[in-house]
């Protein structure tokens, strides 16, 4: 085979040679980013809920003290995992588990664990912000009709909070697609890791990473678009039906919303 000379020849050549490698790397990147973001979201939700449970001085000590301690520890968790690079966290968790717990995690498991815990710390703060942003009256109305704290959270406050923070959740998703690349330090076979090995053979770093960059861009743009659709879906229809009229109780008409501001 003739050795490629121009940029485009190289790109084509590398795609033929390493297409499946790129594909596998993309798969792993997506897998780690999606599961990491979803698990991180759930973790963040839990942390944010516990951190926003109101503690009143009238509560008995056996409720107040454990809650205060839990809230303090969760605050520490957020500080530590937001305050250190994910690359360092990966090294500490992966090699720490190996050296001191004698636990040899499969790298993919380690990757998902690390991304989830890291994302959880950010999500916890994002969700807490979302909860605070929901009008206080919503919770008061729920409480006034006798719903418990848990019921008003799950039924009224959190759905609104999550809707409000969808753009931030999208951000986290995009960040995770890109930042899962730092996991190459523990040899997770994600897109960056695969690209590096592909580039090494022919020493064509520019061409390989040009392809890699394009793949990342396609991934992040697709995810952003999908999340926009989810947001639209959460907003519900932009029209509603009025049932019955003065002359005919079975009639109905559909009314469109005013132009959204």
């Amino acid at each position: 085979m003739v050795r490629p000379t121009t940029f485009f020849q190289w790109v084509e050549f590398l795609l033929q040679q390493y297409g499946s490698l790129f594909l596998r790397g993309t798969g792993i990147t997506l897998l780690v980013a999606i599961t990491g973001t979803v698990l991180g979201f759930l973790l963040g939700l839990l942390v944010a809920i516990v951190r926003t449970i109101p503690v009143s001085r009238k509560d008995p000590w056996y409720k107040r003290i454990p809650l205060k301690i839990a809230q303090f520890l969760l605050g520490m968790y957020i500080e530590v995992f937001r305050g250190t690079p994910m690359m360092v966290q990966a090294m500490i968790i992966y090699y720490g588990a190996m050296q001191y717990l004698d636990l040899r995690m499969p790298v993919l498991v380690a990757a998902v664990v690390i991304v989830s815990i890291n994302t959880g710390a950010y999500m916890a703060e994002i969700i807490r912000g979302g909860i605070i942003s929901v009008d206080k009256g919503q919770k008061e109305a729920a409480y006034a009709m006798g719903l418990t704290h848990w019921q008003s959270m799950t039924g009224v406050v959190l759905p609104q909070a999550v809707r409000n923070i969808m753009p931030s959740i999208g951000n986290e998703f995009v960040v995770n697609i890109k930042d899962s690349s730092v996991l190459n330090v523990i040899s997770v076979g994600e897109l960056f890791f695969m690209s590096k090995s592909a580039a090494g053979t022919y020493l064509r770093y520019f061409e390989v990473f040009f392809i890699t960059g394009c793949i990342y861009l396609v991934l992040t743009i697709s995810i952003t678009r999908i999340l926009r659709l989810v947001e639209k879906k959460m907003d519900g229809k932009n029209h509603y039906t009025i049932y019955g009229s003065q002359s005919d109780s079975k009639s109905s008409i559909t009314v469109a919303d005013k132009e959204e501001a």
Binding site: D135, E140, Y143, A144, L147, Q160, G236
Partner: protein
């Protein structure tokens, strides 16, 4: 003599050093419509919010059917029997009108969806909002929202309904539609406790009018008496200021 539903005894509420309610005592009989009036900052809203524990009172007792709410009632059960209509409506923004009316019935009272929806339609019809059951709060006008909020409260079959300035956030032309719904409820003998600035409504609909000033009840009388022949100078001063402006 009808039954005494609600009794407030020596109720106190302070925010830090600021004493908002000082030793409030009064009672509500079944079927009574009581309007609470007074200038802003007099503690009217705080009183209402203490009655259903949106604010924890700092002293005193509240009795519901003669039983101490804090000691002898389950909080959730008490709250489901005492409805609240807010100044800013507070309809659940993430739900349709129907869902707003159904959630409390299902989650608190344990009704099934079919019964809950039937009840919701019944009360939505009463307030003239049944056609809008599929709309979301953001798609309604202020007056419509408040009427839905009243229906939502009624769906819980409350024994007492508290109104916290229900028309204060409305455009003037929407005040009437809400007041007429409230008037219907009064005629149907619902027990109501209404904090309001609508003096003509208080005069025409209330059985009793309570005037509050600086955290105390200054006067508690039938509307005919309180409006035409107020005993306290403070009441007289307030009424002359407010009524000359409203009429």
């Amino acid at each position: 003599m009808s039954e005494r539903i609600l009794e407030v005894r020596s109720l106190q509420k302070s925010f830090g050093a600021h004493e908002v309610l000082k030793n409030i005592t009064f009672s509500v009989d079944a079927g009574e419509v009581i309007c609470i009036i007074g200038s802003s900052g007099s503690g009217k809203s705080t009183l209402l919010r203490c009655i259903n524990y949106l604010e924890e009172p700092t002293g005193g007792d509240i009795l519901f059917h003669g039983k101490n709410v804090e000691k002898e009632w389950k909080r959730g059960e008490f709250l489901s029997k005492v409805g609240m209509v807010f100044q800013s409506f507070n309809l659940f923004a993430n739900m349709s009108v129907m869902e707003n009316c159904v959630i409390g019935q299902m989650r608190v009272l344990g009704r099934n969806r079919k019964d809950a929806e039937e009840k919701a339609v019944y009360y939505l019809e009463k307030v003239g909002m049944a056609p809008y059951r599929a709309a979301r709060p953001g798609q309604l006008s202020g007056g419509q929202k408040q009427r839905v909020a009243i229906a939502r409260a009624l769906c819980m079959d409350p024994e007492v309904l508290l109104f916290d300035e229900p028309t204060s956030a409305l455009d003037p032309e929407m005040v009437g539609e809400v007041l007429s719904v409230m008037k219907q409820l009064a005629e149907a003998n619902l027990t109501m406790l209404i904090v309001t600035h609508e003096m003509s409504f208080a005069r025409d609909v209330a059985d009793r009018v309570i005037f509050m000033d600086q955290g105390v009840i200054t006067e508690d009388a039938a509307p005919g008496e309180l409006f035409t022949n107020p005993k306290q100078p403070r009441t007289r001063e307030f009424l002359s200021r407010v009524i000359s402006r409203q009429l």
